[in-house]
């Protein structure tokens, strides 16, 4: 059957890809996409651990549910900001949004 570590490795790769996306992308939405990937990696991890270490407990699932909630909130706010920023700067490129530098 499938070993636990496989899931973990897949999650790790997913997470790495997400990180790359977050770091390398210009567009704010693209960055959000990267974030989502990272979230999913985390979810996979959590559930894998739940499944393999304590399938009887609800803790892992609850954790996942909470992550869902947080992710949803994050995206909602993120996109709202994105829209607002776009309205203000006429651009969705995070590098153009650097008012807070010296």
């Amino acid at each position: 059957m499938i070993p636990l570590s496989w899931y973990l490795v897949v999650a790790a790769l997913l997470f790495g890809i997400g990180v790359y996306g977050v770091l390398a992308r210009k567009n704010a939405v693209a960055i959000l996409i990267g974030l989502e990937l990272m979230f999913n990696a985390v979810l996979v991890n959590v559930l894998a651990f739940w499944r393999y270490l304590q399938p009887g407990e609800t803790a892992g699932l609850v954790f996942a549910v909470v992550i869902f909630a947080v992710a949803a909130a994050e995206v909602a706010v993120g996109l709202a900001l994105f829209i607002a920023v776009y309205r203000k700067f006429g651009s969705s490129d995070v590098d153009d949004i650097n008012l807070l530098k010296w």
Binding site: Y52, P55, A69, I83
Partner: protein, 176 residues
């Protein structure tokens, strides 16, 4: 046997899709990649017998988040306009760091996780979904985190509406 096959297939597909999601300049395609990845995650959940979460994953991520993302991409673009390059000049660093991170984590996993296979004894109870529901509203269980999460969602909702609304003036602007 079958499950292993399915797992490998899914893993490959979702990783490729993830790469598409972060590499492609056409953001809509990238978003599609994201969607596929999310589906893949859902499949993994099914393999892990977390059916409820699998479906919830589809509903929330595909049904809400992904659609929102695609939506906002389309909103902020002119139809038929060309996509410029979507990556920063600093992408090599990003690649370096991400790669290092991945490698490290993977190696740690390999080093740590003895390849433990599915504990046959402890199968997932059939009524797991019911249990989860009970636990979420059980005072001795997770009612507090649950409520906190809900409040967070509410706050995010209101905040998002306010931020994106941007006041009457902005409304006028958009009407023009």
């Amino acid at each position: 046997m079958v499950t292993t096959f399915v797992f490998l297939l899914t893993a490959v597909v979702m990783l490729v899709a993830a790469l598409i999601a972060v590499l492609k300049d056409n953001l809509v395609h990238a978003a599609m990649g994201l969607v596929v990845t999310l589906f893949g995650t859902a499949v993994l959940f099914v393999l892990m017998e977390a059916y409820f979460l699998a479906v919830a994953q589809v509903v929330i991520y595909v049904g809400a988040i992904a659609i929102l993302i695609v939506f906002s991409i389309m909103l902020t673009r002119r139809v038929g306009a060309a996509w410029g390059a979507q990556t920063n000049p600093t992408w090599p660093f990003a690649l370096l760091v991400a790669g290092l991170l991945t490698v490290l984590v993977t190696r740690m996993v390999r080093a740590w996780a003895p390849d433990q296979v599915l504990p046959a004894a402890a199968a997932v109870p059939a009524d797991m979904t019911a249990r989860l529901g009970a636990a979420l509203v059980d005072p001795n269980g997770y009612v507090v985190p649950f409520e906190v999460a809900s409040v967070l969602l509410l706050a995010a909702l209101i905040g998002a509406v306010y931020v994106a609304w941007g006041g009457r003036k902005a409304e006028k602007e958009t009407h023009k």
